[in-house]
Amino acid sequence: MTTKAQTMAGAADKAASGTSSFNLSLGWWITRISLALIVIAWTIPTFGLFISSLRDKDQLAITGWWTALQTSVGTEQGRTGEADAQVETNGQYVLTGSIFGEGSTKSIRTYGGGFLPSSGTVEYGQGEQPGIRDYAPGELVTLEDGSTFVLESNGTYTYTSPTPFDFDRGRRFFMETQIPPTFTLANYQEIFRAESVDQSFINTFTVVIPATIIPIAIAAFASYAFTWMEFPGRRFLFYIVVALIVVPLQMALIPLLRLYNTVGLSKGYPGIWLAHTGFGLPLAIYLLRNYIGSLPRELIESAKIDGASHFQIFTRLVLPLSVPALASFAIFQFLWVWNDLLVALVFLGKTPDQIVLTSKLRELLGSRADNWEILTSSAFVSIIVPVLVFFALQRYFVRGLLAGSVKGG
């Protein structure tokens, strides 16, 4: 029975996908549920970061982001205005005002305690603020001295007395407040205003654009030479390029740091552009040569017979035909440079006009470790551009990956 169901499911899938490749026929439901679980596990961390970056920072600090759509309940203390704010009307002394600040979305659930008499009807457990649930919003409380107090659910209170009020500080009470789900861009405004993340964003672009274009231009010339030109040592030189692809950056940092200090390239944009160019070249040459080498030989030969020079063949024929490969590498290099931390730490300064997003984020992880509203929104700013580039140009990116890793076996 199961076998048959599986076969049928398998057949349906094949019909749907139009191929008959290998598949793990685990059964229709198991396949879907396991894949869905993996996808959920994979997306939840990023999703949580995004939601959190849009939450009110006080709520973010005390409740999980998955409760973002729930109304949260908090305990607060309130204080009436001071005695000199009282107004006399019809022989009554009145003190009014709002407990919440301007534009607050909070509301009162219950109130009591503090200077308010106990209603005696509610019992309180350990750790609870006694009296806090004595009264419902809008309920009039009469005090021993004949004065009355009422707190509306929107936070406005009216404190009325037959005799003048006489106290220095406002009188205190407690309340349970409800905070409706709120989403705000305040965290983003904060990181732009107080942490100048917007400047880092610009700095990152300043690094990325030249560091992507320069290596492509240089690598394209070199790959053409490696593919269509004859010169002694061609093979050997290319082996060196292949070898250099995996050389760890760590191997280059110390001598370059010393070199930069002597020639005055350290802590500046030209220095990091060149460094990223050098580090990106081996993969660029390798990828482009693979692609240029796959162009039909007859095409190049016939251009040669027509009297075209290498430079003409390169600029008029090979470059236009290689756009897909150039795009693949451009995406690689863009993502790599955008996401790089090590090279930026070594070759750029940490001053506001030079610090890039990754470096800034790392600094915030130290200085604002407990401010999740700052960290989540800054992280989101740093990941949104590469993620968009990735989704928009995924096709080229995947093609580059497949070509770059050499068809094994």
């Binding site: 398998g10 008959s20 490749s21 290998f22 598949n23 793990l24 396949t31 894949l35 993996i38 939840i44 961390p45 990023t46 949580g48 970061l49 959190s52 005390i62 409740t63 999980g64 998955w66 070199a222 030479a225 004859e230 082996y239 060196i240 292949v242 070898a243 250099l244 995996v246 050389v247 760890p248 760590q250 191997m251 940092l253 110390i254 001598p255 370059l256 460094a275 160019t277 050098g278 580090f279 070249l281 290498h310 955008w338 996401n339 931390l341 090590l342 070594v346 990754t358 984020l361 790392r362 992280a379 740093s382 990941i383 590469p386 993620v387 890793s405 050499v406 068809k407 094994g408 076996g409």
Partner: protein
Amino acid sequence: MSRRFFAKLEPWLFLAPALFLLVVYLIYPAIHTFILSFFDKFGMHFVGLRNYTWALHDPEFLQSIRNNLLWLIVAPLASIVLGFVVAALADNVRWGTLAKSLIFMPMAISFVGASVIWKFVYDFRAEGQNQIGVLNALVVALGGEPRAWITIPFWNNLFLIIILVWMQTGFAVVMFSAAIRGVPDELLEAARIDGANEVQVFIRVVLPQIWGTILVVWTTFTVDVLKVFDIVIAMTNGQWDTNVLANMMYNWMFRGGGDFGRGSMLATVIMIAVLPIMLWNIRRFRAEEDYR
């Protein structure tokens, strides 16, 4: 300038900028780093193997080596197994392409960005407080005790490794998806007609066909793991026994005004670990060229 002379010169004109930058930015520094690893902290006096013998007695170095080994075993293995599962499952589902995209997405994120994302997942509040990190919230919901995950020695390494696995599994998925699709259908049909079940088909037919891809993915991950630095510096900076060679190297570059001898020695150790893969890549490339 004669035409023949120009024809000889021309390739070098095409190559010159690239060769110049490769020499200045990779070849010369790599050789110099190797040499500096035998010199003192200022790179002035030859000290022989002293930096290396120092390392063998330095607890931080030994710890880093152990951690690097753990990373080297767990990260590629986990990514490859998961990559396989996802590639095989996604090919059977209509929304498989979307699923693959979503699993692939973390590859576009920086290590630091990913570290913030996961630090938030691992966030810890004292017991009794509301947990705002997903992991502790789950643990508490299941009746467990909340823990400060990234401070628990040994296990914290695994929590850092999860971040790398999360980031690189997408690569394995893409590679395996393409490889599995490349297995000739006739081969699969023939095996099925001979009565093989799907597991047997996988082990006997598919696996041998895509063996080359597995090796490529494995070596790529291995090189990545050896260079892991950002995750460690962002999550723990090597505290609580989580240091790795690349982070230690970065620290020694600047620690105490910078110790170029020890820094270079640590870089050289990483290079030596990468060397077999480098040689293997060249061999593989040569074989492919001959085949062409």
